[in-house]
Point group: C2
Chain length 309, copies 2
């Protein structure tokens, strides 16, 4: 298993020269997924030498501009560079109208198929499955309808106990079934329980993306024991009231959520442009939850698990 | 007179990490005007430390994304930073619908007045006048309706010949009228011709912005003797056929237009992303018209005229 997360933009609504608005690239093995697409995302993708045509699907949390104003340009560039693979786009329904209007006035038609999936809000449901992952929504509380996204690597197969295969003289062609959990029935009709022949599967890797949300413990059940949690931490504690008024979180509140969810790692971002340095965000979050890291533009988090599946 | 032109983006539809899509900031004395607003314009404005709230009016040539996808984000930032001065926006009519749709889904209302001026196409007309400049459209030939813009500094007043004032004993209170071209009539009814008392006014400074256009000599009358001409030069001569097919120009064609128009200085830009270096553009253009310079992101052209008005 290989999971990589590249931060393409780490700021909130007002970008600075070094902190672009929200966008992140998720890689599960060789599959690319884009989460949100703030202005300049395609420029960041180029800067960090990420092949844009490898992006299989794009997920937009909500329609505040700092989370999607880069989408139109990115789609246009995919088209101009000759994409022909289908692109799946998950977003609030109104985005379709915007894309269509923009194409109409430009007298342009994408040469690839854009498969638009309008999202609903307020509940968690599975919206995407491919050979690598399943993705479900996380209902977030923001000023306008907003979904977070939970990526879950597919369930792994049970792992064969090599010594047991010898002990019970299991023919090799039975192995695929054993990995799926079947018992082994000998030619004499004797049943050897699967647990004797296999170890439990490796835990599926999970990543949760909670883009814009007020402090809301009701999301914890959806992200319980997540391996990596990205949770916005727009403000410092001194602006806690402002955070609540604008349906955002402080860094420490993000850490509270991570603690309740028992997240393996918390990554915070979506910093207000008022902060030229973001060190205090880290400090305040780590006081609550030690396993916290900062998002910053270009930072790449890499997770490898070499256990056999 | 002070005229500054800052290149905010110099590339065509596909940006690179160092060449953003089209946008230019024009300064006439202390007044700021923005020409086109490709994706990332607000980031460039910040990078080059240009105060965005000083922008008085924005002019959009046409609705291909590389000329306006940065507008939504820029307007949003103006709003978030507390703008209250009216902003005048000149653009193709459909842009209004896009802005309104985007505001509706974001549940946002600008706190400043956005004065939208829908433009028509195919003829030259004056669309804006303020205390510094008048702006008129230049009909360009592109794949979709497109206007160039001609900025003309206001006519200057005639310049007093100081020695003549003494000779003819002109009272000081007559000077304002003389500057406007009036003759001086003495108490005895004698008429002293204005030409004896004043020099011709300084020539008004002019700047033409021809964003996306095929090679089209029919624009020459509109830009004749312009001081500074920006004309796109997307391609090199080797791609001349591609330039014609896509309603763009080569660098040499831009230079042909500058030559016909007798432009003081030609600036070329809007480079195709296929060129990693743009030196050949300069070389090919200068073979046709020596007074040519390259646009590149962050380059600032400054013109000063200290003659009294």
């Amino acid at each position: 298993m290989a999971f990589n997360l590249t931060i393409l933009g780490s700021n909130s609504s007002i970008p600075t020269a070094s902190r672009f608005p929200t966008s992140q690239l998720v890689e599960f093995n060789s599959s690319y997924y884009l989460l949100d697409c703030g202005e300049g995302t395609q420029i960041q993708l180029r800067k960090y030498r990420i092949k844009i045509q490898r992006i299989r699907a794009i997920f937009i949390t909500h329609l505040h501009g700092d989370h999607y104003f880069g989408l139109f340009g990115l789609l246009g560039t995919m088209h101009l560079l000759g994409r022909n693979a289908t692109l799946d786009l998950f977003a609030p329904p109104e985005l379709k109208e915007m894309i269509e209007l923009q194409l109409k006035v430009a007298k342009t038609k994408f040469q690839f198929e854009l498969n638009f999936h309008p999202l609903t809000f307020g509940e968690s449901k599975v919206i995407w499955e491919d050979d690598q992952v399943s993705v479900s929504t996380i209902p977030l509380q923001h000023r306008i309808p907003c979904n977070g996204f939970l990526f879950r690597e597919h369930s792994h197969k049970r792992r064969i106990k090599k010594e047991a295969l010898d002990t019970f003289r299991v023919p090799l062609q039975k192995i695929p079934k054993l990995k799926e959990g079947a018992d082994y029935v000998t030619d004499n009709g004797e049943v050897i329980k699967n647990e004797l022949l296999t170890h439990d599967p490796r835990k599926s890797f999970t990543f949760a993306f909670c883009s814009d949300t007020k402090f809301d413990p009701s999301i914890v059940p959806y992200i319980k024991d997540v391996d990596v949690l990205y949770h916005e931490g727009t403000f410092l504690e001194s602006e806690r009231e402002r955070a609540h008024k604008t349906f955002h979180s402080t860094a420490a509140e993000a850490a509270e959520i991570a603690k309740m969810a028992n997240a393996g790692l918390l990554i915070i971002g979506h910093y207000s442009a008022r902060y030229s340095s973001i060190e205090a965000h880290l400090e305040q979050a780590r006081k609550v939850y030690k396993s916290t890291e900062l998002a910053w533009d270009g930072r790449k988090f890499e997770f490898r698990d070499n256990a056999t599946g």
